[in-house]
């Protein structure tokens, strides 16, 4: 699971959970996989992000080095920043671990890089 995905993910599927965001990350295995840099895409995606959540998520798994806590107004002109954002968003992969719902504490396992967001039949009743 990449951090860009984490930034969009909620646990609203659980009954009674209102926002379910952000999920806490607990990672036991993290891999760095190189991804081609595309400044156009990164520029387009940054306004869609909750930057604070991204920073905290990166920090919680020890990968916030050099990542600014806030976005500058003219971030699209700062290639160095875009490359850092690119690395944090697309190249860090949580392979094993789990996500935790901030409201209910329900855990969702991540195995082989794929989060399992399914509830049990008892939970959806």
């Amino acid at each position: 699971m990449k951090l860009i995905t984490h930034n969009m993910l909620t646990s609203k599927c659980i009954k009674g959970v209102l926002t379910g965001f952000p999920l806490a990350i607990n990672a036991t295995d993290i891999k760095i996989k190189e991804v081609d840099f595309n400044s156009e895409f990164i520029t387009r995606v940054i306004p869609k992000l909750d930057w604070e959540v991204l920073w905290c998520a990166a920090n919680s798994i020890g990968h916030s080095d050099g990542l600014p806590k806030t976005i500058e107004p003219k971030f699209e002109e700062d290639e160095e920043f875009l490359k850092k954002a690119h690395h944090v968003l697309l190249e860090i992969e949580v392979e094993e671990g789990h996500l935790t719902c901030p409201e209910s504490g329900r855990q969702f396992p991540i195995s082989k890089g794929i989060p399992n967001m399914l509830l049990t039949e008892a939970e959806v009743q």
Partner: protein, 434 residues
Amino acid sequence: MWRRYLMWFAQEHVDFRHAEMQSILSLFNIQIRYIEKPCIQKPYWIVELPSEDCLRKIASRSVLIKNCIELWSRARSEIQLHKNLQNSLKNTSGTWILQESMNGTSDLHVCPKEMIETYCSSKKTFKVDVETFCKHYTMTEKVKKIEGFSYLPLEGPVQLKNPDVTLSYIEFYGTDPNNVPEEPYDVFFGRWVVDGQRDLIQVHSLKKRHFIGNTSMDAQLSIIMANQAQVKSGDVILDPFVGSGSLFVSAAHFGAYVWGSDIDFMMLHARTRPTRVGQKVRTKEESIRANMKQYGIESKYLDVLVSDFSLPLWRDDLKFDAIITDPPYGVREPTEKIGIERDNYTLTDEHLVNHIPSKVEYGLPHMYSDLLNFAAKHLEMGRRLVCWYPLVREKYFSMGEITRRERKEKRAEEMAANAARKEKEYQNRISDNT
């Protein structure tokens, strides 16, 4: 000056010809003039476009176009075509001399002299291709036809491999192989400009793909869907019924970043039973991600998630540029969501480990209404949801049509005998009041 082109289509998936073309034209914002009413009965359209660049853009996307030719002349017979071309060499007016009739097939079709002469320099290598649609000619006969053009002032050397100029002579004998006329209905001559994306069908063929499932979408249909969704570089798309990720391949090929989800844990982890004949176990290389790697588009892969589409998953304010999906129809893949019929069901902690939740029927109307609501909420304004919808054939077509369709439509083969499916394209037009 607007230029006149012959667009030659593959005579398959003809029902998608208009849809694919309209989507591509509006994607690039290209104006087009139809010289003949565009149809699906014949494999070609005659159009005018503002520039050759427009034509190249269209051909860079269309999988239904075979090739595009700058039209120098057309006629209803070989003799008249030669007359037209000979007259073209004398046409110094700088414009076309035409006599267009309403049914489109006029015999007078004389292009300006400059159009031909630009490509006749002694420095330019050339070749002439002869194509006969629905009729076979031997090489000797074709060479004889080429020699018929000897009056053209082509001064450059002939070169069969990668020449500077490829000229194309086409005879059209209709589309019914059981009823081929003596003389062609239509003949064309012009300069080949560009091919469509037919080659991509082989490149993305399921036969050579690492990881496929029972209902992986055919390469050609996937490309058509990506075109209908007007996918472009840097877009973010979602497939909420991703399965083996076959729709990822074409969308990412056109530059989109892809997210997917599916309720089937085993499928996303590539642990379902192999689909290929004779294969006993899934190999290690099989996964959605490996497919992306195979085609050199792994950088476009975002993530796949195991999730139940009937429940919310994404942040409320997340907007996708397109949703491209092929939901299950309950025929070859079941329509399911998590649930249980029993009331007050509880799970004990010891059973919770590795528990596989039970599923209940996720009725089609329910699923499609969820999908439409989801799209209305999560699509960028003006962007599209492209999906398939299964139809029971008896209810939609008369018997005569069924047999005809069964022969003609590849997409119908994928379905059980009594059902067909239709592609739907919804555009998000819900007005934004905020």
